[in-house]
């Protein structure tokens, strides 16, 4: 185990004067619990679920947790991002709503109407799949290429709207990354429903961030190929720009291995802001990750009484969450100590996304979040590594080091 990487855990930076204080929610990929921690890294609340995340959870304004679970027996369970169930549970973990479909994957968006936008895998018709360029030749899974569909699910479990990616994408334009397999075309990992009803998404495998017109299904805007490497989590900013995480994987040329946050103006297609950590390589999430814009802090002297907000970044593959200011200063940092053995990623503390809820968030109102209820560490792990370090330390001391 890499000692340098894993030794520091918990909250490692907390510049409390500059942070957006609140509670941070995340679900370690290899475990079955979703955790809500305070600014000092203590567990304020947890939900124990039946299945591992497929891939994350969110705290709704009504105080319930909406959780995408990974059903291990699903037909595509081994594809990264596989889900299978959507569960809404109350603060105490009691099931309030459930929706199951073995082809659910990655994420969801609970809409104002009460419906839920989800992503599902659908087979790309063979004649279209043959036209799709890119990817490793012959690497389709059992000869099938899976595409994405966005579906709006009513509380009754009815599909009230559907968008099939292969009907609107262009095989000659939307090319799969050349070193990824052809078992999937796009690899959608986001489905944000915008205020105007349109859907903002990111297609990891075609290196594209896109806006889908809900009425016509047409792709209103797409950006990314040649500029980014496997993006995640786009969100719409107040100024109309799109903020997202450019993971920086499989870039052309000297792909050093660093991730960055990007803000792109969809009207001009120009990058207006970016953030890389110092050094660049210290922030790299080959897969997963998120960047939630935090609420504008109240600043009576700032323009319109508001200052530029911080961003909560999840460096998923490293199990690290940090809050960064617009100037690039890291004001809060947390490294998850919750490691689990997984089949595909080894012994890991990865999480897909992490979000922050401030004390004024309706979903937290009235709930008891005192950390003292979870005194000890929740994770079940032996401290073999720590015992070994202690043994070696005493050996070194005996030798006079």
């Amino acid at each position: 185990m890499a000692f340098v990487r894993t030794r520091l855990t918990g909250v490692t930076i907390n510049s409390s004067l500059k942070t957006y204080s609140g509670y941070t929610l995340f679900a370690p990929i290899g475990g079955k619990q979703t955790l809500l921690i305070d600014m000092e890294g203590q567990i304020a609340h947890q939900w124990k679920m039946g299945h591992r995340p497929g891939l994350h959870a969110e705290l709704l304004a009504n105080g319930n947790l909406l959780y995408a679970g990974h059903v291990p027996q699903g037909p595509l369970a081994s594809l990264t991002g596989a889900g299978g169930e959507m569960l809404e549970v109350d603060w105490n973990g009691k099931l309030v709503w459930k929706y199951e479909d073995p082809y659910l994957h990655h994420t969801f968006c609970r809409m104002e109407s009460g419906n839920t936008m989800v992503i599902k895998w659908v087979k790309v018709p063979k004649e279209i799949a043959l036209e799709v360029k890119g990817g490793i030749p012959g690497s389709e899974r059992d000869g099938v290429m899976w595409g994405d569909s966005f579906q709006e699910i009513s509380p009754d479990g009815e599909v009230v709207w559907e968008w099939l990616s292969y009907e609107y994408l262009e095989p000659k334009v939307d090319m799969i990354c050349p070193v990824c397999s052809r078992e999937e075309w796009t690899g959608a990992n986001a489905c944000e429903v915008l205020p105007d009803g349109n859907i903002l998404t990111s297609f990891m495998r075609t290196n594209t961030v896109a806006v889908i017109d809900k009425n016509t299904g047409a792709i209103k805007w797409r950006w990314g190929p040649g500029e980014v490497g496997h993006p995640h989590h786009p969100t719409l900013l107040n100024n109309g720009n799109i903020l997202f995480l450019d993971n920086g994987r499989h870039c052309t040329g000297l792909s050093i291995g660093y991730s960055r946050l990007l803000e792109v103006n969809p009207k001009t297609d120009k990058m207006e802001w970016d953030h890389m950590s110092t050094p660049w390589c210290s922030f790299f999430s080959c897969i997963m990750g998120s960047c939630y814009l935090l609420p504008d802090p109240y600043d009576p002297y700032g323009p319109k009484g508001r200052s530029l907000p911080n961003i909560l970044v999840c460096e998923g593959a490293a199990g690290r969450i940090f809050e960064v200011t617009h100037d690039g200063e890291i004001v809060w940092e947390y490294v998850s100590p919750f490691y689990y053995n997984t089949l595909h990623f080894g012994r890991t503390n990865m999480m897909f996304r992490a979000c922050r809820y401030g004390p004024e968030y309706e979903g937290l109102r009235g709930h008891y979040v005192a950390p003292s209820r979870f005194g000890g560490v929740v994770q079940e792990k032996s401290d073999k590594a720590g015992e070994k370090r202690a043994r070696v330390r005493s050996r070194l001391e005996a030798l006079g080091y």
């Binding site: 185990m1 930076i13 050349p178 070193v179 040329g253 050093i256 050094p279 080959c286 080894g346």
Partner: protein, 387 residues
Amino acid sequence: MDSAKLSLRGVTYYDPSKAYDGYTLFAPLADFFVWLIDMQGRIVHCWKMPYTPGQQGVLLPNGNVLYLGRSETQKGPEKELGGYSGKLIEVDWDGNVLWEYENDYIHHDFCRRANGNTFIIRWYGMMPEDVEVKIKGGVPPSAHVGTRWGAPGEMWATAIQEIRSDGTVVWEWKDYEHLDPEADIIGPLDWRSEWMHCNSIEELPDGNLLISARSLSSIYIINKTTGDVEWRWGPGEIAHQHDATLVENGNILCLDNGMGRLGSEISYSRALEVNPQTNRIEWEYKDNPPTDFYSGIQSGCQRLPNSNTLITEACRGRIFEVTPDGEIAWEFVSPFYGYYMAPGWWNVIYKAYRYGPDYDGLQGKILDPKKFDWISRSYGLHRMHTQ
């Protein structure tokens, strides 16, 4: 620069019962120094070089450091080709430059022969047109409108040369005369600005040459007499590797960076040993989780006399030693930060080397950490940082 991963520096782990005792030499890419540290991370010697590292320096058996430096006034290929250097110098224990070979086109690696000659890798003019049109792979020129890298007619050729100390070229091998466009295909994410991007060279006991070509994700054994490719291996197995060397059991050891690893869900690096007779991987070291060891560029691995392997994870400025079972026996994080290339402020190291106390090059040398205590302290290297 405050981040969980960056706050540790110096030796973070050391198990004397498992680690190979000796001294570690490395050259942080962002500065002009070459450092020699002991097993506790304390500086025991340093050289101030006239140039920043093009890549690295090695301690020769004669006690001098052979160092490939980066020329600031380089007039050669675009610096974006990566690995550009320009100055190969031999420096004595006290930092005096005893020998210098200046050539704007040399890059990455070198190999000093027993007879005093040196193998170097260099860019060698533009690729002949009739060969370039046959070379497959790479980013299609149309994909990056507005840049020149890999535009037709913009591909550089690579040569390996053996030079005498007076600079005369006594042997030469050119990629376009010996590689095979059907077998040696540029990776889909690489610019077509070169065919090979050769990044390591080692002379084998039988006189043949072992080289590593990053853009082709391949390692080769070249017959020195004929120039023929005797053995090639790599595509589909390794990705953008560095530092191919021969180990005692006849296998080839290399650092498989894993950048653009075909079909892999995650990005990870590994050190591995491949048997050139059977093309089978007989040993590998990966971290758990694998993503904890990843360096997209540079890096190296050295097999030590006790069967451990010293690995340099360039992008994270980390040097560590692993046993054949994959246990870490020693780990060091460089505290030497500075500006290097576009990524700016970081502690990147290309490759580090370990030398035992009975290595020829260290005989008769004073290796007293107290002599450099004042430097060690300012970098936090006066003590170990194990927990």
